[in-house]
Point group: C2
Chain length 243, copies 2
């Protein structure tokens, strides 16, 4: 499994992904799942992936090669004119990779399946985020659904729903993401530290802060242990149900 969140704030976008990959619980390792492309002053695009690692790495490599090899430069993630076109490109590439691996039809297609979160901003447009499905189609973030999750989405969702606020500062947004990731890590072995974090400031057209947060991080530790205590205390203050 995997856990990635792409979140839209009034002031920009925040992305966080875990780094654990596994083929069975007896075979796990660490792999980056967050990638970005930028043309400073013109575009910044971040992609996070979940699913079969061979599929997602092939997709990222194809997108990269097509953006650096001269003769294959078209279609290129660095030249699409809108984020919508970028999402189409990512969807088409993802679908192509899955189809290539799936010579044995539907069942093997599922085995090689993957999905992606694609976010960023291209000059002339607003910052936005897309959730790209293995079939190549996608949905765009809206104020009603201001964040997308992929991978193990359930454990960490309730706190996102309760505490999200579009006007949040980045510090608070990162705290919220860390709480959501921490709840997930505590419940599912297939999601693990370190976490990759990226912040994109609206209209900056370049990658903002990029951080890797590991288990040694003192603020993460304080949030993780503090959240357990805070939950217990919040729970104490609720009315009891007399039975």
């Amino acid at each position: 499994m995997t856990y990635c969140i792409g979140m839209q704030l009034d002031r920009g976008l925040v992305f966080m992904s875990d780094t654990r990959t596994n083929a069975g619980v007896d075979n796990f390792s660490t792999a980056k799942k967050m990638f970005h492309w930028q043309v400073p002053g013109e575009r910044m695009i971040t992609i996070m992936t979940a699913g079969n690692l061979a599929t997602t790495q092939a997709m990222i490599s194809l997108l990269r090669e097509r953006s650096v090899t001269k003769k294959d430069r078209d279609p290129s993630i660095l030249h699409e004119t809108t984020m919508f076109q970028v999402a189409r490109l990512v969807g088409a590439t993802l679908k192509e990779v899955i189809a290539e691996s799936s010579v044995n039809g539907q069942q093997s297609a599922e085995q090689f399946s993957a999905s992606a979160i694609v976010g960023g901003q291209i000059k002339g447009g607003e910052p936005t985020i897309f959730l790209v499905y293995p079939e190549g189609n996608f949905i765009e973030i809206t104020p009603d659904t201001p964040f997308f999750q992929i991978g193990e989405t359930k454990y960490g969702k309730p706190i996102l729903v309760r505490a999200y606020d579009p006007q949040m500062a980045y510090d608070d947004a990162v705290k919220l993401l860390l709480v959501s990731f921490d709840s997930t890590v505590k419940s599912n072995l297939s999601v693990g530290l370190p976490f990759d974090l990226q912040i994109y400031e609206k209209d900056s057209f370049e990658a903002g802060r990029i951080l890797r947060i590991d288990e040694e991080d003192s603020v993460y530790q304080a949030i993780s242990s503090g959240w357990g205590d805070a939950l217990k205390e919040a729970f104490q203050h609720l009315p009891s149900y007399k039975v």
Copy 2:
């Protein structure tokens, strides 16, 4: 889907189940998923079910008929001598019902699948809870895993893990279950109110308080809205992550 929890406390057992059943989001209704059998002074057994409604209803009916019809009285849930034997009976009955429906092999067996939580106490033994799988086998609760969940288990698990305490009063245990159920209801349409609640006091050998908690319940409303506010406040008090 469904959501049921069976929880062991030092002072006894607490059971809670939702009541929503559905065949697609356009076809849902309310069905009881919690059932009990008792011989006051001698035994109290509670069963909660998740999965295919035809399967779980057939299983409950078979267990009931075998306990009331004279000629079929053996094997009977009212005559097994230990909770372990009761779990074996429930497992065998569940497996039998699934096999009966599954004339088309493995795939249709999955479609008719179901699981159950079986808890209670029989004179001469301690109160205990079993989680019964569709294959008819089962696991028993231990101090390391002091509660079982079936159905949509993920959204409501983090708070259970954080706030459970074996010495809890019933009032607090019910509050904890309501918080867990509330988080699940807010995230999954296939889990819904009203909730059925049953409390079994250790060595009482009879059903304790049995309640149905619906949306109009003022304490539930206070817990549901209070929990959102409490979470937000707990979140505010965590350290921010400076980026």
